[in-house]
Amino acid sequence: MFRRVLRLGLTPGRQNRGLRTRRGGFTLDWDAKVSDVKQKIECMMPGKQWGMPFDTSYLPPTQSDVVIIGGGILGLSVAFWLKKLESRRGAIRVLVVEQDHTFFFSQYSRASSTGPSVGGIWQQFSVPENVQLSRFSINFLRNINEHLAVVDAPLVDLRFSPSGCLLLASEKDAATLESNVNMQRQEGAKVCLMSPEQLRNKFPWINVEGVALASYGMEDEGWFDAWSLFEGLRRKVQSMGVLLYQGEVTRFITSSSQMETTSGEQVVLKRIHKVHVKINKSLEYQPVECSVVINAAGAWSGKVAELAGIGKGLPGTLQGTKLPVEPRKRYVHLWHCPQGPGLETPLVADINGVYFRREGLGSNYLGGCSPTEEEEPDPTNLEVDHDFFQNKVWPHLIQRVPSFKTLKVKSAWAGYYDYNTFDQNGVVGPHPLVVNMYFATGFSGHGLQHSPGIGRAVAEMVLEGEFKTIDMSPFFFNRFYLEEKLQEYRIL
């Protein structure tokens, strides 16, 4: 008994305290009280929020000038340009809401199990605005460390491969390709046209059967590491004071007013006042008061637009016009072929939409093909259909590059495109009826390479009310209502 009392009396910590309270000490839980007081003192220190009865620091702020939905490259790029072009430091508060950070990781990371993205950048588009976007973005990417420099952080290494892009065209498309190249040259792109003979001399491994004309980007084209760009943007944007938040937008609180157009038509103008941001894996949500909402949700931007009431009206009217952006699954395969083309291999886009490029030095190549509208795979999961490569991609590859006959597929992965079903081109600028929702979405695969230019255009539209650098008015939402297609000659 004596020994037990001695032990209780001498051991420090919990048991000691327990003994004292039983003896009728002055407080029930001394340690808890102390830590409570400590916390309160800590709260009163400068730079801390104090007097909070409940801890809400994990919730997004209650107010933000701009809410960007989607924290992919496009969303971050818009955030970057908004902060860059603001009139003074800290003039606007920007909140980026991203549903799933791991999603982006799996799609673009080279460190993850899925593998590298195609990450191509080229100027060979048929819409002049797309060429201008490419030119602007290439300039941005080249001087990336001027734009995204953060004091004391390592430099962004984009791992850009300036190997060029080679577009092949059949007899049918040759005239289109030629006029496109003329337009691209006028915009300042260094693109050259090649006949089948020239092509054979330059790249002896290509079988020129069926090729009538090829266009080859000599300068500033190739591929880069999307993950580095994403990381650099994220770091810069955070250093500029943008809040990145993981959550889901579940609801928009809007007000509407009846208006009459000059032609006497009745329209309902909507304005978003609050965005409900739901915490992941919880029912808790925070209404965020905002003046501008930017829809950069990529493949899911159609759903976000629906939440804001876009497309809920009679079909054929402006109110009933949906945002035609939906997720589409695309496969990328990585294969090994020791007999394959050498170091000079560019990003080749074949007549039938099959593309491939070199990856690294060890005779590895990656490529794929966009499936036709009827063969569109189910976009609910990201499983890879290996038969697709066997049946649809490989035969075309062998036909173009005979040495690919011996290739061995090493890995494959799938990702989502923000596919615009209307004309496979992007949507930029405000919605005509929901006046403070801006779009930066639907680029159907070239959003990655154009992200710096698109971000700037959207930021200019928000801050200045007009496009200053590149006139992106052909990309307005109105074209879905007016049914004016802005079609590209070919998409990868």
Binding site: R89, F105, R110, A111, G115, P116, R142, N145, E146, A149, V150, V151, D152, A153, P154, L155, V156, D157, R159, F160, S161, P162, S163, G164, M218, E219, D220, G222, D225, W227, S228, E231, G232, R235, L334, H336, G342, L343, E344, R358, E359, G360, L361, G362, S363, N364, K410, S411
Partner: protein, 262 residues
Amino acid sequence: MREFGEMFGIPKFLRLGAREWNGRARGIHGASESATPDRGQKKKTLLQFLSDHFRDVQALREYLLQKQLSKSNWKNRSFANIREKYGPDVTGALFILKHGGAVKFQDKEWIRANERGSFPTEFLNFREVPVEAVDASGCTINYQGMSNLLPLKKLRSLSLERCPHVDDWCLGRLHLLAHSLQELSLAGCPQVSERGLACLHHLQNLRRLDISDLPAVSHPGLTQILVEEMLPHCEVLGTEWAQDLKLEPDRQPQDASSPISP
């Protein structure tokens, strides 16, 4: 290889985030900043400490960083008005001499700036004489500055040895010299990697290429073999690849076939 800070005459503690300009190009490490292994070990300078705690110091350092970059761009501006007056060859020569390099006009002696940066100016009269060779070793030429060199139509030999700002983007522009260029040296350029070397296939007249001592190239031996394959008529100088194999007997072939060779 000079350090970035020294190049601009900036004292050591003011060197702002630029210490990775040279040395092996590093990828972005992981998602979190703390994951970078070498960050914690770096000695914190006073300014670094202050900028962590005070916004103003941080803003000042950001401003200084931007100043550094714009200074480099100013040095590499395009001499458009001089080109109009004197033609492309004199402009290119003037640009190189101002950066401390050397030029050789056809059938003339090498012109080189002395230690104080001054150089004879009689070449301004060589309007009809083309520039034959350029030695830009150690110059701070970047992508913009290259546009002063590219109109040299008769340039046969170009040396970009140890140029700290020559990167893969610059190599992508060299195809404009494809008709004349016979000798090219990229030895010791810290930012040139195998990705940039891949686009030298445009230079079909190249007879001699020096790609030795490139720290950003991941597999020097393999790269050299592939470049030799790509340019069959060209003598490629590089690190002795057999030595490379001896150093890492089992790693080399594995790395070469890994799907994500950096």
